[in-house]
Symmetry: D2
Subunit: 474 residues, 4 copies
């Protein structure tokens, strides 16, 4: 399965999780919920559920949710509790091994874990556990958490899990299913999103609120940083396993990852993006005839920019929806076709026009440089690139697949060099201040509620030397 040629030039979200407790169609509901979270990971999907006899079952596969679960399969997935996972993976022969939920047998029985995020001290703990005689079958941090639970001095999962959480550092939105209990834990910085909802009598947990809508449910509240939620036969309880710290959710949830119809910490993602675009227009206005956005993720920001700049918003680029799972490797002559297969300019919209092109971020810059070239070919007389986020100059250690620092165009080139590389008439990024203002956050990276590490290098947790070397993906 060769990957989308454009995906190499974006940040890639790692995972989405979904859980449900107290509904007879828990397996089917998870299917719908995961489907709504599909944009967070397309390479593997899995659901673990407790069946009618109280046993934990699990089905996983490579590919989309709708490809992994057939109708026949879903019919066998009756039962009251389930957790699910969609995963964006890197290539490797062990792909299916690493797909989630992971299921472990241990002295307490059988448990399934679904994890979104990345630990910064996984290697240290792994080394420690190996010294104690642990074996590892995956390259997933999740297995580290399972070992800590299994080795805990506590017999009860609730306490064993808290002990484990006290040892791990980094980003995690974690769902655990065992017997009649569903647990959810969010790291003390709240780096990953995790929301709580309800449908009929059942409790829901999901990376994004769009999954609640997908199953006809309603949003209750966010899971708090450092909060452990325990749902069992006697209802839901909340336990605090870590001191309250400053919440620091990943900024890119607003900028790029989350679905426009989701709300993240009370802010609608589409509206947030519109405001990012509006703020970008205030910070970096330009004389132009049309505003256009790179579909799909930059459309909201483009609309916001256009409204504020009072320049007409137009569909200047069209995305081909039928991209399939594999791409041919074009020969040397047709190399430029790669981007054209996915995006095409609308000539009549851009010909003879001064175009503002909005994108949400720039990683390596290769795709953007081709888009600028395509717009010029289509007759644009000026192309002004506006990016609705600050420059990404630092790698992420919390589970986002940024390139290593060397590949980040921002860390290698000056703004002028990038503009020249892109072939643009002008290039501007939203400032960090603009980002915070647009999201209506305090102007302090300490208590703005956002993780800005990839912009300013201020990581909310410790970072260890070997974390920097080996970024593991979940």
């Amino acid at each position: 399965m060769r990957r989308d040629p454009l995906s190499e030039d974006t940040l890639n979200e790692e995972c989405g999780v979904f859980g449900i407790h107290g509904c007879q169609s828990a397996g089917q509901m998870s299917y719908y919920g995961l489907h709504a979270l599909q944009h967070r990971g397309q390479e593997s999907a899995g659901i673990a559920w407790i069946n009618g006899e109280g046993n934990l079952q699990c089905h996983k596969g490579m590919g989309l949710v709708s490809e992994t679960f057939s109708n026949e399969r879903l019919e066998t997935m009756e039962g009251p509790r389930a957790i699910g996972h969609v995963r964006y993976t890197t290539n490797g022969s062990s792909q299916l091994l690493n797909s989630q939920p992971l299921v472990f047998n241990y002295r307490g029985g059988t448990m399934a874990l679904a994890h979104n995020g990345s630990l910064v001290n996984a290697s240290q703990i792994k080394r420690y556990l190996e010294r104690q005689g642990s074996i590892f079958q995956t390259t997933s941090d999740t297995e580290v958490i399972a070992h800590l639970i299994a080795r805990s001095a506590y017999d009860e999962l609730e306490y064993a899990l808290q002990e484990a959480l006290s040892m791990i550092k980094g980003a995690y939105a974690l769902l655990i299913l065992q017997g009649d209990t569903l647990m959810a834990a969010l790291d003390p910085n709240g780096l990953r999103p995790l929301s709580l909802g309800r449908v009929n009598g059942a409790y829901l947990l999901a990376s994004e609120t769009c999954a609640f809508q997908a199953v006809g449910g309603e949003y209750l509240r966010e899971v708090e940083p450092g909060e452990l939620i325990i749902i069992d036969g006697s209802g839901m309880r909340s336990v605090r396993f870590a001191q309250q710290t400053a919440r620091r959710i990943c900024s890119f949830e607003y900028i790029y990852f989350a679905r426009p119809d989701s709300d993240v910490w009370g802010i609608n993602v589409h509206q947030a993006r519109k405001r990012l675009g509006a703020m970008l227009a205030q910070e970096h206005p330009v004389e132009a005839d049309v505003v256009t956005g790179v579909p799909d993720s930059s459309i909201s920001a483009a609309i916001g920019y256009a409204e504020t700049a009072r320049i007409p918003y137009e569909l200047g680029l069209i995305k081909n929806r039928y991209v399939g799972r594999t791409f041919i490797q074009p020969n040397q002559d047709l190399r430029a076709q790669g981007v054209r297969m996915k995006l095409s300019p609308v000539k009549r919209v851009v010909a003879g026009q001064r175009v503002v092109m909005i994108d949400d971020s720039i990683v390596r810059g290769t795709t953007m440089s081709r888009l600028v070239h395509m717009l010029r070919e289509a007759g644009a007389v000026e192309v002004h690139v506006r990016i609705s986020s600050p420059p990404v100059g630092y790698p992420c250690y919390y589970g986002i697949d940024t390139s290593s620092r060397d590949e980040l165009i921002v860390s290698r080139k000056s703004l002028e060099e990038i503009q020249s590389f892109l072939g643009a008439d002008s290039l501007s990024f939203l400032s960090v201040d603009g980002l915070l203002r647009a999201l209506d956050r305090p102007q302090s990276s300490q208590n703005c509620g956002l993780c800005l590490a990839c912009f300013n290098g201020e990581y909310p947790t410790e970072i260890y030397p070997d974390t920097v070397m080996a970024k593991e993906v979940h």
Copy 2:
């Protein structure tokens, strides 16, 4: 392969064709061209090409272009001339048999045909040919054309084809490849789109101009109704096989089928849709807070409506991009999930708002009724449905998969009944006059240049009783 639950409630285009003459990578170029036409048909794809030894080869398969042609396959497809086809098919065990291009051996050698459209006298000719001893292996009109060519008194393909064309009636944009010759013919009413382009020294033919962009080519002109184009070693010639008649291209190319970045008869599709939306706003204004469109096809019209009505355009509905090839059949309780899996409202955008929802057409109305319901659930206080085309009250006999007359909601219910069925606060359709004005066409169905048959029942060709009974699909 179960079909998209939403597709049942739209009009479905039948085919796209692509041809190229005079380029060493004709096979690869066709791959890119067909990929750009993928929206015109997703169920089978095929390319016939003349290889280096001058032999005609053909490869076809069920599924998307990118699934049908592997990298290995494309590498074997060297040669200077090719035609390709994407097809929307109905189900049936003979699917692959009917996929195109069709290849025939006859006394003149081997020829390949790719056809978009539908003949209205196919059954009559078929009956006649069978009486003469012809056998048919497909249910495709294309085989009828091949028989007529093979049985012609003329030995030369050029004349034999003209003789054949003089006998068939209906809609066709036809490409034929044989030896060193590529031919293209458009029916005398020009019911289907077919454009001529160039890339380097090669000639291009395609259902839509977006395919020219996809291969780095440029648009020359439309193929004229009743024109036969012959491209061979000595260049391109144009022959008229039918008297000039009033051009009558299918209106739905503008309304729904064509890609926004294509130009059809000189009019950009995205801009045409914006004007349809603008005209709709003039004809059917409404007090409201936001305008939203059903993605993706109604976005342009929604932007046009919003601009004219001076109501903010918003992303009120989000489309899930990861729909995969199969859909589960939800159980009774989860039936409503079908639409939700594909479209979700953005609550924060619509809650407490009076919403204008733009769609391009209504066939059965079931999907729209669910969307209205979803918007209300999401908190919309009013939902005003505006359709950017006139009511579809008559079946199409030229290759568009409308339901039979009984299934068309417009032919069964009054406007009030439909509005009530949809649960909308108001419902309006663009008028036929509005459609013509928006496209800047004369206000006469005779010389407006458009086929309006599905709106007013005035078919530009004869229609025979058995055409009405047996609508064949290509």
Copy 3:
């Protein structure tokens, strides 16, 4: 799908056919019947049946019968009449197009044809038909027959078919299904096998009697050369469409093609092969310690040789049953592995022994040369090769995939040269006289009842120059 490396060095049967009339499970019965005929062709399988509404349906696919027909598919195949086909095909992109049964619509309705054999005047008729305006979509002789039927002056299929049969020459065992009629025709020389049977009230037709056993049916008689059998609602009738000529069934049905449990013209195939082995022992005795056969086809002959020669029969070679559909292409160093993956010597059986190795035929000799080498490596002190058929020195024009004359080792080398090429201590072939004696046939190639053309070049039909050039495969 790469082919079995050993199959290149054998003669390959082209097809098997099966038909049934008068049983409600005609589709399922055909499935079982074709499965029993699977050895006659493994690359495609198909069944055409008349369903409950009297319509002709067809399902075909590449691969084995059990791969082509799922349980779900079979359940939809209810109906009283069916014909089926298994095919050995040569490679090519049009594989599925050429798979059978072929279904044609013509003035008489819809008919399906299943054909085993090859016509020697197909090119001539094809050329003639093309001149009349016929088109051809396959490279199959069967389409020629369909055209002749469709163009016949007779309206009734029975007479139209007879007219067609009067024009074609060569080898054919032909089944035709139309409406309530099943017809079977065998060429005037009876070159291909075709037997008639019954099960409950239904009539059966099959290439081999083993298919009757497979459906619990019983053998009635052979279809006669030049006989047309017509089965419809009023029972079975027999018509003679050609003068009685000398029957000439392909000798290789006895030697190699047919399954050991089949009877061909009253002779059991296993027993025939034992007698071939016994005759070989009489003609070419040798001092040796063990007799072994190349599995599976030469086992019977080896047992016969052993009994007559009074040398113990042993399993000297073991065949790996798990060969799968694809073979890796071993690198240069491991080339010799190809044969070893399929056959291995039993060291303890052959070490220190003088071994007689029986094979049924030699085409190119490459496999046999590797087997001799393997036996020597395993310790055999002498290897005496005995072939239970005469040398194949002439190509077959009746549908057997012999190599061209240049590739036949017998036509390029003397017996001594072949023996030396094989590395054998001695080499002998059964004589043509021995073949006839073993099968208890008169010692005259004219009325022996067998086609011996590949041994002696005496073809029972005319052979035309362009038949020699273009051997088409069905």
Copy 4:
């Protein structure tokens, strides 16, 4: 993937292992070696190898060796050391998870394990390890061994493994690959086969000697019970990890599992089976006309019986070689077809004859009863069933998939009742004494060198109550 209907009525071997150290094509060689061991397990296949950079890689898949490893894959498998595994699995969603080799990261690095056999104290150790905090991701005993190694007080794999082996009981032929070391261990009773060989400079290890032939290698010796073999850069060493005990290889290796061309403990399997047949003829002679065997496994015994009884050996039953991977579920009327699809009688051989039918074993008896019925239908006047092994009356706890005791026909019915159930004219089993005599073993179950537990219930190791309850499959 539905299973072979006949396989339910046989004993099924669980695994085959192959290892190679010191050859640049270790991956490819393992492919050929595993292919030769394919009869020991067809449901999954895997190879772990050390690549050029010294890293351990692993590729596994469901299905045959030739299906799991493509040519492209094999080309990437360069490197000097490898181990491989073929597995017979029971159904379950965790199939691929349990397929081998299993790969573990632990404090000593990365190791791969391939295991044939079954431990009798796996549950006890697992419970113990879970109490210590271990987690289990598979249901395989192999994971238990990996845990023991990882938790050992010893850092060096060689000593850690010995410590682990000192704790486990049961049957195991175990290969371990780590870094530059390949280790092989055989349980102290030698219940499973494991042989040592060489090819060029490289060492080979395989479940059967036929795998040595397959790669052009030669047999050196058996691995001894309780022996640990260590192969690394400085050559091969042998260590004894357990006291010499009486060797007790599974009798069914001779009777049914091993390939006829393999030698097991110096006895050729084909010849052993012939002697079993000969002994059976001495113990249970019968007046008859032909002797036939159930293909393929009983052919050798049938030949032996025939020779001793001086009754002609014949091919009375033919096996259909094209059985494919899936079977349709025949409807009620066609249920009897199941066996017929796989085996057919040769009427001419059995009609009017008194037939001796040799089979190697009877488990449930359902297949045999259908075969007897088929022979009678084909005209056999008497059918005498002779089984070339003693009655299987006790379950196996060492990795053979016998049915539970209740399903074993021998433990439910008397000999007369079985004969009557089969519908046979007579029925006899080889005696245990006859088995030992035929294999030239001492007449004492203590030092006969064979495990006879399934015949006499004398298990060579302790058996624990929960072993009896939960037979795990590897």
